[in-house]
């Protein structure tokens, strides 16, 4: 695999992302509202101790989650503009291409979400340097995984409308059935079981370790990292598979 080529693919996605100025601005406004409106209000009636801190760290994970998934929308839009054919004609292997895109999608999400990590760490006031570094690494991997996941889905579905709807459904399940916003202790048993299998829960969990927030944790940092690593490998492999087999030959709607 040619690392330079992989990086060129990633670089393109990062620079494209910077052009979505309005979208990025809206996403930041969303984050501020979630923290200072919903977070503050809900922490006044939720019985979980230090819920604001719990919620704020979950919101940071969601920033990674949401922005890493944008790459699938890019793919769909590129297909609509015919750019996929152009990209497929370039001197890359399909594997270099999908890995480059996963890295690009993950890196741009991380660059975008990193200020929120620093902001919330300042708000919470606590930090464990070792776990924090581990958390950042895990979130980076998590972003790459989500980008791979988004690419796989977009390439498999090949339809803007269907992708949009499906992402809405997945978002409802992934976010609500995770520990991003509330701990498993507050959930009915069945929901708690599903939430404790959700990669988003593990990503939220490892970040809380980094913030030194040691209540309502799901697993050890090592377990969190392992689950995220499996997620990363699985969806980059799927992404490569679907890219190879589904992108060629049009059929986008």
């Amino acid at each position: 695999m040619n690392v330079k080529k992989v990086w060129l693919v990633a670089e393109r996605d990062i620079f494209n992302f910077l052009e979505y100025r309005f979208l990025l601005l809206i996403r930041w406004i969303w984050f501020i509202f979630q923290i200072f409106l919903f977070g503050l209000v809900s922490s006044r009636f939720v019985v979980i101790e230090n819920y604001f801190n719990y919620y704020a760290s979950g919101m940071v994970t969601l920033m990674f989650y949401i922005t890493a998934l944008y790459i699938g929308y890019d793919l769909i839009e590129e297909a609509e503009h015919g750019v996929i054919d152009y990209l497929l004609s370039l001197p890359f292997s399909r594997r270099e291409f999908v890995i480059g895109r996963s890295i690009g999608g993950g890196l741009r999400a991380s660059f975008f979400a990193l200020p929120s990590v620093l902001f919330v760490s300042w708000l919470i006031g606590g930090l464990n340097p070792f776990y924090f570094a581990l958390a950042i690494f895990s979130l980076l991997l998590f972003s790459f995984s989500l980008s791979g996941f988004s690419i796989s889905l977009a390439a498999a579905i090949k339809s803007h409308d269907k992708f949009d709807i499906l992402m809405g459904v997945i978002d409802a399940f992934m976010v609500r059935l995770s520990t991003a916003m509330y701990p498993v202790e507050a959930m009915p048993r069945f929901y708690a079981l599903i939430s404790s299998l959700n990669p988003l829960s593990f990503a939220s969990d490892v970040l809380r370790w980094g913030f030194n927030f040691k209540k309502y944790l799901l697993a050890s940092p090592a377990t969190d990292l392992t689950v995220i690593l499996i997620f990363f490998l699985t969806f980059n492999a799927f992404g490569s598979y679907f890219y190879e087999r589904r992108l060629e030959g049009g059929g986008w709607t």
Binding site: E11, E19, G82, L90, P91
Partner: protein, 358 residues
């Protein structure tokens, strides 16, 4: 006196008229020179079908190094599908092609390192600017960032796109987008450059710039595949033309040979100062390759084959017999007539028919 002074002028006129043909001959597949050129693309029974629709039907052809190979046919003939297979964007249903010896099925990565394509519809992502698109393209194709920037600057200036380099793709006009698409290949300079309808949506002066750039690419070592439905473009640029219709190749040769394949295809119109003597007609008819002579009082219209050899003989005969010639006009059959000959339809009619059938 008049006839004597006119003679060398007339002969040089014919030399000029048919000069492009002699160029065509040096590049033709049948000539000695071409036989020394190596084959860089070899398609064998290349076939592609989409959900039962046969877009390309077992086509076989060879392309020689440093030639401009025209793919001519109406929209829907299978040209773009053929090009997409050659660039490994889509896989053939059956058959294959080799590019510099690399099979498009087994070695697509190697093929992509050799081939570059400027698509029929510009493939530009809406948020990107021509500058970003092209610098990135140059780097992907192996240039360093600084040399990519330099080359992009040169090409954008050549194509009169320098002032628009920072505009987003969605702000560009159709013609500007097309120029950016063509610019990709001029920056990349691949060993095999594929242009799919490079001058559609481009104004006349822009067309000439692009045609010149394509010729320069060829002269500098690239082999060019030019897909077009513009007859004059195919005729003007191609060393050989492959005519496609309904996914099949119906003819493949140099433009002049294709035109010569039409019996009586060349037309010589000779205007004379006095009435054309009717007695001359049988003599003109007796000249080899003359098919028909029409007497239009002060004008003779001669239908003939192999115009480059036959027309000077006719004019010489007239001058020798003391006929005072005031003007001469030579016209050739167009590639549209060649297309009609092989398909029974003009390119426009074929296009309309294909559209109706779908």
């Amino acid at each position: 006196m008049f006839t004597q002074s006119l003679k060398p002028v007339l002969l040089s006129f014919f030399t000029g008229v048919f000069n492009h043909r002699s160029i065509g001959k040096t590049m033709s597949s049948g000539s000695v020179k071409v036989s020394k050129l190596s084959i860089v693309v070899e398609a064998l029974n290349l076939t592609k079908s989409f959900d039962g629709f046969l877009a390309v039907d077992k086509i076989s052809f060879k392309i020689y190094e440093r030639e401009i190979f025209g793919l001519l046919g109406p929209n829907g003939a299978g040209k773009t599908t053929t090009l997409l297979m050659l660039t490994t964007v889509i896989k053939p249903t059956s058959g294959s092609a080799k590019i510099y010896g690399y099979d498009i099925r087994n070695k697509p990565g190697k093929v992509r390192e050799i081939v570059g394509i400027a698509f029929q519809d510009p493939k530009l992502y809406w948020v990107q600017t021509p500058w970003n698109i092209l610098v990135w393209h140059g780097m992907v194709c192996g240039l360093s960032r600084s040399s990519a920037r330099q080359r992009v600057e040169d090409v954008l200036k050549l194509l009169d796109m320098w002032d628009a380099r920072r505009k987003r793709a969605h702000e560009l006009s159709g013609g500007m987008k097309k120029r950016v698409e063509v610019a990709k290949l001029l920056i990349q300079r691949p060993r095999i450059a594929i242009f799919d309808e490079p001058t559609s949506q481009i104004d006349v002066s822009g067309k000439h710039v692009i045609w010149e750039a394509i010729r320069t690419m060829r002269d500098e070592g690239s082999t060019v595949i030019l897909a077009t439905n513009d007859l004059s473009e195919a005729d003007r640029l191609s060393d050989r033309v492959c005519i496609m219709h309904r996914g099949r190749i119906v003819a493949l040769d140099t433009p002049w040979r294709l035109k010569d394949s039409i019996v009586g295809g060349d037309i010589l119109e000779v205007e004379v100062l006095d009435e054309a003597p009717g007695k001359m007609i049988p003599e003109i008819k007796s000249i080899e390759n003359v098919v028909e002579v029409v007497d239009l009082k002060r004008k003779l219209k001669v239908y003939l084959n192999k115009g480059e050899e036959t027309a000077p003989k006719i004019v010489n005969l007239l001058l020798t017999k003391g006929v005072k010639v005031s003007s001469i006009k030579m016209s050739e059959p167009s590639l549209d007539e060649v297309f009609i000959r092989y398909t029974g339809l003009s390119i426009k009619d074929a296009e309309m028919k294909l559209r109706d059938e779908r």
